[in-house]
Symmetry: C2
Subunit: 107 residues, 2 copies
């Protein structure tokens, strides 16, 4: 789904990753993190796709919301597992969304 | 691949899309657009994945580079085809990348 974010400005966290060959526990943890993120203050939506590279973009109200989510105890544990097991490499970019535009067929 | 972008700041264009059922010409045009984008001034890299939703993030030196690419004649034509045929919906977000961090296993 395309995230139904509010009118900018807001923030985006672009998380691009290459998985390792280790699958144990990954899908459950990934689903749990999406669920947990969506419950955090300031969460505005997320989009995710993987084919070869994985791209997850989550949207947040401000930098404080992003910092809170990064420091969430269960998320910290997931990040540690990620580095130890599931990811060969990742890059996280914090970006300030200045504007957007959209297209919907038939509208 | 994870785009090998320079130290921030720079810009990201986050293009999230839902395809229509029309495939004719899409793959060729998508590949051509990646090739053409990478030749534009200010292009810093791109990442792309699709499963259900498609996410393409392209990285640019500044807003002028993004505006130039958006107005490129061949890209304008592709955008028009996209709206008429290939996309059910899309959303484009222009974002200023303020910082990044990365992880590479074994480093």
């Amino acid at each position: 789904m395309i995230a139904n974010t509010p009118t900018p400005p807001y923030y985006a966290v672009i998380f691009t990753s290459i998985r390792s060959s280790i699958d144990a526990g990954y899908a459950d943890m990934a689903n749990r993190m999406v669920e947990l993120a969506s419950q955090q203050p300031g969460f505005l939506g997320a989009e995710s796709a993987r084919d070869g590279v994985g791209i997850t973009v989550s949207y947040w109200q401000d930098l404080a919301s992003i910092a809170n989510w990064k420091a969430h105890a269960e998320h910290v544990l997931a990040q540690q597992f990620g580095r130890e097991q599931w990811y060969q490499a990742y890059k996280t970019r914090i970006a300030f969304v200045e504007r957007d535009y959209q297209f919907v067929a038939g509208e």
